[in-house]
């Protein structure tokens, strides 16, 4: 009988408005992980740096890596945009990686899988979200941002329930689709309707690279 690896490593820098929103919304995933008795390695704020990231990876052998922060096709960043992962790094071998970050699935994710990562779920283009300007100090109370960030949280949450990477990806896609349908409806506010094109973009550029049957 296979035993689930119950170690989750999260990076969540917090040095600007975008990372602040990701920081707070990633907390939701952390709470879910704790409810499911996962050991959570929470590299938050200044701790989201390359030295600690590599050290935690080697000492704790987490299987699930949930990355939040700025990114590009070649690199994924931590706190103050210090690079955490670059094209050519091979320390994600055998890991299930979910990167809530811009553009990393276009090249970095492919290279990570080439270097041994089991699966990499991320975004091929810029990850977008709208937020309500008056809610900037209370990101979790922002219903507009929720339409974007809640579906994106579903990838790690579904993986922790024992689902495969492919199923988890699909759950996130379905949730985005449902939100788009709601935003197109007459029940949506003006702000929600303004935001539709950007959620469609997230839906289209979210990508799974590697083994869809991978699971914890």
């Amino acid at each position: 009988m296979r035993v689930m690896n119950r170690v989750l490593l999260v990076t969540r820098p917090n040095h600007d408005c975008t990372t602040n929103y990701l920081y707070y919304w990633a907390d939701w995933v952390i709470q879910e992980a704790r409810k499911k008795h996962f050991k959570v390695l929470d590299l938050k704020q200044e701790k989201a740096n390359r030295r600690l990231f590599i050290s935690y990876l080697s000492k704790n052998s987490p299987k699930l890596i949930f990355l939040n922060g700025h990114g590009s096709s070649d690199t994924l960043a931590g706190h103050n945009n210090e690079s955490l992962i670059n094209v050519g790094d091979s320390f994600l071998s055998n890991k299930i990686v979910y990167a809530r970050s811009c553009c990393t699935a276009s090249r970095l994710g492919v290279k990570c899988v080439d270097s041994g990562a089991q699966v990499y779920i991320g975004y091929k283009k810029n990850f977008a979200f709208f937020y309500t300007t008056s809610k900037i100090t209370r990101p979790l109370e922002d219903d507009l941002a929720k339409l974007f960030l809640e579906p994106s949280n579903l990838v790690p949450i579904s993986l922790m329930k024992g689902n495969t990477a492919g199923m988890s990806y699909k759950k996130s896609q379905k949730a985005m689709y449902r939100n788009i349908r709601y935003m197109l409806s007459s029940n949506a506010s003006v702000e929600e309707r303004n935001a539709i094109p950007y959620l469609i973009r997230n839906l289209r550029c979210q990508t799974l690279i590697g083994d869809p049957n991978a699971r914890l």
């Binding site: 811009c102 990850f127 788009i180 349908r181 950007y198 469609i200």
Partner: protein, 81 residues
């Protein structure tokens, strides 16, 4: 300049105007986070489109993709349900 190039530029100008008109209709209560370190208010988005910088081009692409989706009736069918 060939006739077709002139026509393309005219079409691009029309597209720009269309997207700017759509952004102008945005609520001023919301801000967009899209790549990089910056966050964008409605006015900043319009400036990016007018200057045709990288972000402006991306906004145009996103908006045109959306309009095409609406014209084709995508998201009104039940392909995910």
């Amino acid at each position: 300049m060939s006739k077709s190039t002139k026509q393309n530029e005219k079409i691009n100008e029309e597209i720009k105007k269309l997207v700017i008109a759509r952004i102008k209709a945005y609520s001023d209560k919301i801000t967009l986070s899209l790549g990089g370190l910056k966050k964008y208010s409605r006015e900043e988005l319009i400036e990016c489109i007018e200057n045709e910088d990288e972000l402006g081009k991306e906004i145009i692409e996103i908006q045109m993709e959306y309009l095409k989706d609406m014209a084709e009736g995508n998201f009104y069918n039940a392909c995910y349900e």
